[in-house]
Structure formats: structure tokens, C-alpha cells
């Protein structure tokens, strides 16, 4: 009955992937941005010290009698001390010729003249940050350009960067973890609304086609609206068909009664054996039809009343005994004994008409299947719940069909030749369910079927 619906992915999965993937990308971006910013700041720090060192050396340069003299301040190199003991290189050039310092330590020439400013170069197989500045020295007769370059390895800088990177990584990971927790929460909150709706749909009884009234998030409003309208239409169409059946049964029953009375009258007047036999068959067929029409009416009534139960305080024992009294003539005709056992009183609050209908249908069934000169036992108890059990000594239910027998128009495969519409157990079950109970079918070990109405 429930067909497999094709599944295309998971809403939760899609949400999680989007949120967590987004968080991962953001965390990575955060890490990279933080690191590149830190690298820039750290580099600026080193550059400014190098610049100060170059400036202090350049400042000490003088031209004395045509000769360059530089009294390099001790602080020029002292300020370059780092925790990682970075190596320091320097060179002083006068118009492109080395005056002092390391040979070959020159900023990469960019179109001829050496560039002032900062560069990262390779020197003596190691990478250096090199600061360069120059100054024009004016002597008595000549002028000359002094270029000072100071380079430093970047071990301390690398150490700082590693530390910052590690912290940035922790920060990014923390952000990611937080985002994951948040996305889990957001996803479950969103899916939770859907789940709640699903649960409230699933928890409904088979007859409950009333619209959903609980507040739902605005995004789910269209779904709930269409669900409600679908159920409204379903309800309406069900009601229409029930009405139609009731109307049809009612319309059929009256003419059937008329036909039956004519048939009986004719039977009195006919003497020929084969004609009488034909008329009896006719009457039996009419009985069956009117019984079916009656049950259809009962069923329609129960479907209607189940939604609006007319609860009254009644005594189940009294109700059952009343029924037994009415059915005794039928039972006597078949030589079946109807026996009532159990509690003397069983007060219960329920719809007496529905309950009567249910019990009558079950006893009817029992009478139909009970062999002649047997007994139908009706026992009442209120442990643990009020319960009416009706057992016969007939063939019992076919075990394979036990679960489906209570469905509409379903008859056991041993019911051939016995009048019935297949609605009796359905009616009993509907009544039990309407009272919040169940209908249980069992077979007795010594033979015979048992139907329990638990209320």
C-alpha cells in the first residue's frame, strides 16, 4: 500500500555540507589572512630596524680630505641582535666600489643603479633581508655618493611567524569547531520542525483527517496548507462515499423487505416441491442482501459516530445480557447455547449504540460458524482493562489470515457457504479503536475462534 518514494539526498546532509564546508573555507581564509597580516607586520618590524641601522651608519660617514671615513656606531649592529642570533652582513660602497664590509653584498641592480629600499636577496647561500640607502657627501673639491647596505638573516622572523601561524591555526580550528557546533544545532533545529510535523502526521489515527492547527514556521506554511487542503478533500470524498453507501443500502433495504414478504406469501400458496425450493432460495438470497445492506448501514453509522462519540455511563454486563436475550431465538434455531460468564457488573463510559453493534456483530459471527449443539461463551472482565471475549467452538480463524480478517469485506477462506458480508469484524474493530481499544483475534487450543474486544 505504501509505495517506496525515490530519495534524492538528505536535507540534513545538504545543510551540514553547506554550513560546515562554508565554515571550513572561512576558517582557512581567516588563518591565511591572519598569517599574511602577521608576516607583513613582522617584516615591517625587521625592516624598520634595518633602516635605522643603515641610517646610523650613513650618518657617521664623512668626507675628510677627499677620503671617506665612517665611524660605525656600536649600536648599528647591536640593534640587530635577535633571539635567534641572526647573521648580519653589511657593505659600504662609494660610487659602486666597495669601501668596507662584505664583497658582493649589493641590492639587485634594477636598471643600472643600485636601488635604495628593501630587498630579499641570496648571499653566501642564505636568504637575507637587505636594506639600502645612499647619501651624497660633499667635500671641499669633490662630491661622492655613499651607499650603505645592511642585511640580516630571517631566523628570528621565521620563528615569530611560526609562532603566529600556530596561534592562527588554533584560532582557525577553534572558529571551525564553534561553527560546526553551531551548524549542527541549526541543522537539527531546522530538521526538528520537519520531524515534528512528520510525527504529528504519523501519530494521527486512520480516521483523523482534521486540519493541522499547531503553529509551524512560515517556510513550512505552504506545505501544511496543501496537506490540510488535501486532507480536507480526502475527508469530503470519504464522507461522500460513506453517505452514498448508506443511502444506497437504505434504498435497497426497503424494497428487499417488500420482495421478501411477497416471496413468503407466495411460498404459503405454492405446493409444488421444486417451486417451494426455488422460493426458499430466493428468500435466503434476499436475507443475505438485506443483512449486507444492514451491515453497510451499521458501518456507515459507526464511521460517522466514531468521530463524535456519544459517551454514556453504562454497564457492559447489562448491555451484553440484553443482546443475548435478543439473539437467543436465533441461537435456539441453530441449537447453540449462549453463555455469559464473568463479572456481575462492568461499568464503562462509552457509546452504547456502537458497543451494542460491535458485540452483536461478533456474536452473530460466532453463531454463524458455531456447529449445532455447541456453546458460544461470552466472558466479561475488567482486568487489566474492560474486555469482552466471545469464543465459539467452530473451525477457528485460518491462522495465515488472522492479521487481515478485520479489513473491510475480507472473509476467511473457510467462510464458503456461510452468509456474510465481511464487515462484521471491521465494525467491531472500528468501535474498539474509536473507544481507544483494540480487537484481538485468537484461536482456542481445544478448537474454536475467540474475539476479544479490549476497551
Amino acid at each position: 500500500m505504501v509505495e517506496a518514494v525515490p530519495v534524492s539526498g538528505s536535507l540534513r546532509g545538504r545543510l551540514m555540507i553547506t554550513l560546515i564546508g562554508g565554515a571550513a573555507v572561512l576558517a582557512l581564509l581567516l588563518f591565511l589572512a591572519l598569517r599574511s597580516y602577521a608576516a607583513q607586520v613582522a617584516q615591517e618590524g625587521q625592516d624598520s630596524i634595518l633602516r635605522a641601522s643603515v641610517a646610523s651608519i650613513l650618518d657617521a660617514a664623512v668626507l675628510r680630505r677627499g677620503q671617506v671615513e665612517i665611524d660605525i656606531p656600536y649600536a648599528s649592529f647591536s640593534m640587530l641582535s635577535t633571539a635567534s642570533d641572526d647573521r648580519v652582513f653589511y657593505a659600504v660602497h662609494q660610487d659602486q666600489t666597495l669601501v668596507s664590509g662584505y664583497e658582493g653584498l649589493l641590492p639587485a641592480a634594477d636598471g643600472g643603479a643600485a636601488q635604495d629600499g628593501f630587498q630579499t636577496i641570496d648571499f653566501l647561500n642564505t636568504s637575507l633581508r637587505l636594506a639600502t640607502a645612499s647619501r651624497m657627501l660633499v667635500g671641499e673639491s669633490d662630491r661622492t655618493r655613499i651607499t650603505v647596505s645592511v642585511g640580516q638573516t630571517q631566523d628570528a622572523l621565521a620563528g615569530t611567524l611560526n609562532r603566529i601561524s600556530r596561534n592562527a591555526a588554533y584560532f582557525g580550528a577553534g572558529f571551525f569547531a564553534l561553527a560546526v557546533v553551531l551548524s549542527l544545532w541549526a541543522t537539527s533545529a531546522t530538521i526538528g520542525q520537519l520531524k515534528r510535523l512528520t510525527t504529528s502526521v504519523a501519530r494521527r489515527g486512520p480516521q483523523d483527517l482534521s486540519p493541522f492547527a499547531k503553529p509551524v514556521p512560515s517556510e513550512m506554511l505552504p506545505l501544511v496548507r496543501s496537506l490540510n487542503s488535501l486532507m480536507g478533500r480526502l475527508d469530503q470524498s470519504l464522507n461522500q462515499s460513506e453517505d452514498f453507501i448508506a443511502e444506497a443500502a437504505h434504498r435497497v433495504r426497503t424494497p428487499l423487505a417488500t420482495v421478501r414478504s411477497y416471496a413468503e406469501a407466495t411460498l404459503q400458496r405454492v405446493n409444488r416441491g421444486e417451486n417451494r425450493e426455488a422460493l426458499r432460495s430466493m428468500i435466503r438470497a434476499i436475507d443475505e442482501s438485506s443483512r449486507a445492506a444492514g451491515q453497510l448501514l451499521d458501518h456507515a453509522m459507526i464511521t460517522f459516530r466514531a468521530d463524535h462519540l456519544d459517551k454514556q455511563d453504562i454497564d457492559l454486563v447489562e448491555l451484553v445480557q440484553d443482546l443475548v436475550l435478543r439473539l437467543t431465538p436465533v441461537a435456539d434455531m441453530r441449537d447453540v447455547d449462549l453463555r455469559v460468564h464473568g463479572a456481575a457488573q462492568l461499568p464503562y463510559s462509552g457509546d452504547p449504540i456502537l458497543l451494542q453493534n460491535a458485540v452483536r456483530n461478533v456474536i452473530d459471527n460466532a453463531l454463524k460458524y458455531a456447529p449445532t449443539e455447541s456453546a458460544v461463551d461470552i466472558s466479561l472482565s475488567d482486568e487489566p482493562l474492560p474486555q469482552i471475549q466471545i469464543c465459539d467452538q467452530g473451525p477457528g480463524f485460518p491462522p495465515a489470515e488472522m492479521d487481515t480478517l478485520a479489513s473491510r469485506f475480507k472473509r476467511g477462506n473457510n467462510a464458503e457457504g456461510i452468509i456474510g458480508s465481511g464487515l462484521g469484524l471491521t465494525i467491531a474493530q472500528d468501535v474498539a479503536v474509536a473507544h481507544g481499544g483494540t480487537l484481538t483475534l485468537t484461536n482456542r487450543v481445544e478448537g474454536g475462534a475467540c474475539v476479544s474486544l479490549q476497551l
Binding site: 671617506v68 671615513e69 665612517i70 665611524d71 660605525i72 656606531p73 656600536y74 649600536a75 648599528s76 649592529f77 647591536s78 640587530l80 641582535s81 633571539a83 635567534s84 642570533d85 641572526d86 647573521r87 648580519v88 652582513f89 659600504v92 669601501v99 668596507s100 664590509g101 653566501l124 647561500n125 642564505t126
Partner: protein
């Protein structure tokens, strides 16, 4: 025959120059098959017990110990940086420059205080102050000067006693003398006044602490300025004749340093020797380690030990050195 003679004549000076050691000694260990070549500025007498103890621990090794002046070490080593397995010198500035220029190998598994090592490649293992050493005889019935100012006053008071009887390093030859002089000059102007006074009294210039102490002992000179006190202390016979003064105005203290050249063929054993030196100095048993151990109360500003930092290269700058030496010469060599 004539060719052989010519060849011999040609080779002889080469051999002669190749073996210009101040001192060279080979220490044989047990079953020595390999040789550790150590280039050092420290006199063999100080290192002999240290080396012998090391060789007792390391069997299969011999140590060849070459002694040179500090300046010569720098020249020799730069000329052939792969020939030695260990370089030990008291000229911190030259040592640091060698390390800075990438000649020293990094040894990462030595745990040494930050102030006593540079880049995990240059390791200090002694703390040795520059001292004023005087011959007590010259100061009989006189106050012993405790500061440079005191010394200037004493020299000015009795110039006739001290004329020609003063000594200090020739900073043009001795790298350690240059280091002491530049650090003194950095610390105070008093240094220049002292140099001028001493220059006026015809100061004698020496290459090495050892010679200065010899001359002090014989009475040839009465005062030696910026001598390694450890050398004087180590000579037991001089104790009565000489007084070692650590000037209280500002002491200049050097650390002897060692490094393993990055191209050393026995780098492993060189590093082992440094590890051994560091461990040995901290035990400070004078018979095993005749040099003054590292002063562990380092870091306090009062103790002005020359810091192992790139700034040491400042006075090695060609222009800076030229200026300094010009100034020094004009102070010391006044009318010569």
C-alpha cells in the same frame, strides 16, 4: 744532483713558512687511529691537562694542537677552512665574524645559556677579565692603584720610575689586545687618557700576554695593562712578585670561544670536545681545568662581559679599524 739541490732550495722556504707555529704538539691517545686537529690561541700548557683527560675518555683518537696568535688564527683559518676540526680563540670578535660568515657548524644538541653561545655554533667556555698586572717592587711603600684613574695618578706622580717600564698589547698585531682596547674605548674616555700618559712614558708593545708576564717577573717592566690575569695566576712562581688588579671602575671581561668549522672532517668529535669543555669548566676543578670557568652570574649588568653579538663586528670594519688605529697610534707612539 744540481736539480735536486735546486729543488731542495726551492722547497725549503715553503716548508719553513708552512711550519711557522708558535707551538705545535701532538697528544697520543690509546690506540690512536684518527687525529683531531685543534687550532687554538691558548698556550699548550693550559690545554695539556684538558686534552689528556679527554683522550683518556675517547680511545682511538689523537689530538694535534696548534697554537697561534689570535690574529694569525683568523688569517690561517680563512686561508684553509677545512683543515681544522676545532677552532679555539680568545678574540671574540674574530670568532663571531667567522661564525657570522658561515664558517662555523651548528651543533644543536648542546644546551648552553643564551649569552654564552651564538647561533648554536660559537660556544664560550671561560670568563677571563683583562687585568692590570704590576711588579710589587715598583710599588713598594706606595698605594696599589685600583682603578685606571689611580694608575694615571701613580704614573704621573713618578714618571722617572715608569719611563720605558710599561707594557701593553700591540693592538695592531694582537687581536685580543685590539678587542680589549676597543671595548675599553667604548666604555670610557679614561682609556684614551691612560694611553696618552703611557705613550708619553715610552710604553713597550707586546704580542702576547706570556711575554709581558715574563718581562714583569724579571722587572724589565713594572706595569702591564690589559693582560690576561689568568696567565699570571697560572704561573705559581710569580705569585709573590706580581699583583693582579682587576680595575674596579670598569672591568673588561672576555670569553674564550670555540667552534667546529662547517667543513671539518671530524666534526662529530669536534662537537664532542666542545661538549666536554663545557662540562669540564662547570665542574671547575683547577687541576683539570686551569682556565677560569664561565661566570654563571652572567646577565647582571654590573659584570660587563663583552657580549657575543653581531656588534662585535663593528670594530672589525676596515674604516672603523683604520680610524681607531690612527687614534691609538697617535696616543701611544708620540715622538717615535
Amino acid at each position: 744532483m744540481r736539480i735536486l739541490a735546486a729543488l731542495a732550495l726551492w722547497i725549503w722556504p715553503l716548508l719553513a713558512t708552512a711550519q711557522e707555529w708558535e707551538d705545535q704538539q701532538r697528544f697520543e691517545g690509546t690506540e690512536a687511529t684518527r687525529t683531531l686537529r685543534v687550532l687554538s690561541s691558548t698556550d699548550t700548557s693550559f690545554f695539556a691537562p684538558i686534552i689528556q683527560r679527554f683522550l683518556r675518555e675517547q680511545s682511538g683518537w689523537a689530538i694535534e694542537y696548534f697554537v697561534h696568535s689570535t690574529a694569525e688564527i683568523d688569517t690561517r683559518f680563512r686561508g684553509n677552512p677545512t683543515e681544522y676540526d676545532l677552532v679555539i680563540s680568545s678574540a671574540m670578535d674574530l670568532q663571531l665574524k667567522l661564525a657570522n660568515d658561515g664558517f662555523a657548524a651548528q651543533i644543536n644538541d648542546i644546551d648552553h645559556p643564551d649569552w654564552a653561545q651564538w647561533r648554536q655554533s660559537l660556544f664560550a667556555f671561560t670568563t677571563e677579565p683583562a687585568a692590570i698586572v704590576i711588579n710589587r717592587a715598583a710599588f713598594a711603600r706606595q698605594d696599589i692603584p685600583q682603578t685606571r684613574q689611580d694608575l694615571i695618578r701613580a704614573l704621573r706622580a713618578r714618571p722617572e720610575v715608569f719611563r720605558g717600564r710599561l707594557g701593553t698589547y700591540d693592538v695592531r698585531q694582537s687581536a685580543l689586545g685590539y678587542l680589549f682596547a676597543t671595548q675599553d674605548a667604548r666604555a670610557s674616555e679614561t682609556f684614551w687618557r691612560l694611553m696618552e700618559v703611557m705613550g708619553g712614558l715610552d710604553i713597550r708593545l707586546y704580542c702576547c700576554s706570556g711575554e709581558m708576564i715574563d718581562d714583569l717577573y724579571t722587572g724589565k717592566i713594572a706595569v702591564a695593562y690589559n693582560v690576561l690575569g689568568s696567565y699570571a695566576l697560572a704561573r705559581r712562581d710569580t705569585h709573590d712578585a706580581l699583583e693582579i688588579i682587576l680595575p674596579s671602575d670598569f672591568p673588561t671581561t672576555m670569553m674564550r670561544t670555540a667552534f667546529v668549522p662547517s667543513g671539518a672532517s671530524n666534526a662529530q668529535m669536534g662537537a664532542e670536545f666542545i661538549r666536554y669543555l663545557i662540562a669540564l669548566q662547570s665542574m671547575a676543578a683547577p687541576e683539570d681545568f686551569p682556565l677560569p670557568p664561565l661566570n654563571l652570574e652572567q646577565g647582571s649588568i654590573a659584570q660587563s662581559t663583552i657580549a657575543l653579538e653581531p656588534a662585535l663586528m663593528t670594530y672589525l670594519d676596515r674604516l672603523k679599524r683604520r680610524t681607531f688605529l690612527k687614534e691609538w697610534e697617535s696616543a701611544i707612539i708620540q715622538d717615535r
